[in-house]
């Protein structure tokens, strides 16, 4: 009898219906305290962190308050029994999230220390470097399911490139994360050296919504309410998608991949329809675009699913998914934050096994090359 026939089925070969391991593209680890960073941060910047803390672009005092809907924007059941903030205890994350939901890979997204918004660019770069090392030492190396991202602030392009080079040599990172709210719209040329390097290294650019830039989070100015600001995540990221496409970034870098994280996907069809429509009328203004905006979007951009839109009728969610494209969507939970999506219950519309496999696993595996 041949060895092949004799061999028992491995877990990953079992049919999807009985077992669907998921790739979660948005998992938030947290610092237990700033002291966590000491072993990765030069003394000079440890001292700076203690004496000066963050200097951000946000114009008002105390505009980064917690709680926002819930303390540390976290699920109330995600506080580790050992103390510390949600997301700071690997063992608890494994027990509450990775193991029960059968997460095959989780991509780490660090938000601590307003990492992209530091005005002192050298301090920002030192923090980014420390957090990049911390992701490997305290997370990826202790649980190989967890994949780290290279965090860089794109407003210090030279510092960002140096950090990308350093991390790329280590070779364990799956994407380069830049700010969703930089000083200028993301398509601007000053940021292109980062995109060029990302293309050469074949690393996707991850853009996680939120945080603080120098601009009001809505086109209309500063909102009064958190519910209003949270809504603005979708149009902030829609503006960045338009900037990247219309400035010609995908045209200039034909192999570049972008992943928009935590922006949801309900807004995409109308944003893309409108861009195409305007392109017909204004194409002489942007002759560097050789194709319709929607074509660039369908080849260069992926979108994580959370926070999932919940129309009253399931078939509307189904149409939305089809408009955006089943191949464009990457499942994300946003664990441990308050608007977490549970992969078992979040999609309140029927999906075939093949579609589920794409959204929950194979799309992400293709983008991140697991």
């Amino acid at each position: 009898m041949s060895e092949v026939i004799d061999r028992p089925l491995r877990e990953d070969e079992k049919p999807a219906a009985s077992r669907l391991r998921i790739v979660d593209c948005d998992v938030h680890p947290s610092l237990h305290s700033f002291d966590d960073l000491n072993e990765f941060l030069p003394k000079r910047w440890q001292q700076h962190l203690k004496e000066y803390g963050s200097h951000l672009r946000t114009p008002y005092l105390f505009t980064t308050p917690y709680p926002r809907s819930s303390p540390l924007i976290a699920r109330r059941d995600a506080w580790p029994p050992t103390g510390g903030p949600p997301g700071s205890d690997l063992a608890f994350m494994q027990k509450q999230h990775l193991d029960p939901l059968d997460v095959e890979f989780g991509i780490l997204q660090v938000l601590d220390l307003f990492i992209f918004s530091q005005q002192n660019l050298e301090f920002g770069a030192a923090i980014q470097r420390a957090i990049n090392d911390w992701q490997l030492a305290l997370w990826s190396h202790r649980d190989p399911r967890l994949k780290a991202s290279i965090l860089v602030g794109q407003d210090g392009v030279d510092l960002a490139i140096a950090e990308i080079e350093r991390c790329a040599k280590i070779g364990e990172y799956v994407q380069i994360n830049v700010s969703p709210r930089a000083n200028e719209p993301l398509g601007r040329r000053r940021y292109w050296p980062i995109y060029e390097r990302a293309q050469e290294l074949d690393l996707p650019l991850g853009i996680h919504v939120g945080g603080y830039g120098g601009h009001a989070p809505t086109g209309g100015g500063w909102p009064s309410y958190y519910v209003e600001e949270h809504q603005s995540n979708a149009h902030t990221i829609a503006a960045q998608l338009a900037s990247l496409v219309i400035e010609g970034v995908p045209e200039r870098f034909p192999k570049l991949k972008f992943v928009f994280i935590e922006g949801g996907f309900g807004w995409i069809p109308s944003a893309v329809w409108r861009m195409d429509q305007h392109f017909e009328r204004f194409r002489s203004e942007v002759p560097h675009l050789k194709r319709k905006p929607s074509e660039y979007v369908r080849e260069h951009f992926w979108f994580t699913t959370q926070p999932i839109d919940e129309p009253d009728e399931a078939r509307h969610l189904r149409s939305l998914i089809e408009w955006v494209g089943i191949d464009r969507l990457l499942f994300s939970s946003d664990y441990p934050h308050w608007d977490f999506d549970d992969p078992r219950f979040a999609f309140k519309t029927p999906l075939t096994d093949a579609e589920r496999r794409k959204i929950f696993s194979t799309n992400a595996r293709a983008v991140y090359k697991f």
């Binding site: 809907s69 819930s70 699920r75 109330r76 059941d77 308050w338 608007d339 977490f340 999506d341 549970d342 078992r344 219950f345 979040a346």
Partner: protein
Amino acid sequence: MARHIVASTSEIPPGGNKVVDVAGRDIVVFHVNGEFFALLNRCPHEGAPLEKAACVARLTSPEPGIYQRSRVGEMLRCPWHGWEFDMRNGQSWFDPKRVKIRSYPVAVERGEELQKGLYVAETFPVHVEDSYVIVEV
């Protein structure tokens, strides 16, 4: 429907809760302002464990700038997405007809009364001098 003795009243402090397994169901019993409420321990939206929910007040506003709190501690706010439910009947505050948590009748009885009756949860030791929470499933 059978009656199950699930706890002594002193076991669930005001504002606290206890999760009990009754006939295979994961049920959470809350103690609010001297009353007890029993609900399925699962949010109907994405399945969050309601034992971790916040017990909050109903907050209403007749117009911008004017706020009123009522029924303090009787509204349940899901630990994940903050959906609010009325602890008395499990109805959601925003869509009471379509979205609700399964709720169960609760009674509080003295041990001396219980010892006379025929009750299901015989594994729970009953003392004549105490009071007990009984859930009907």
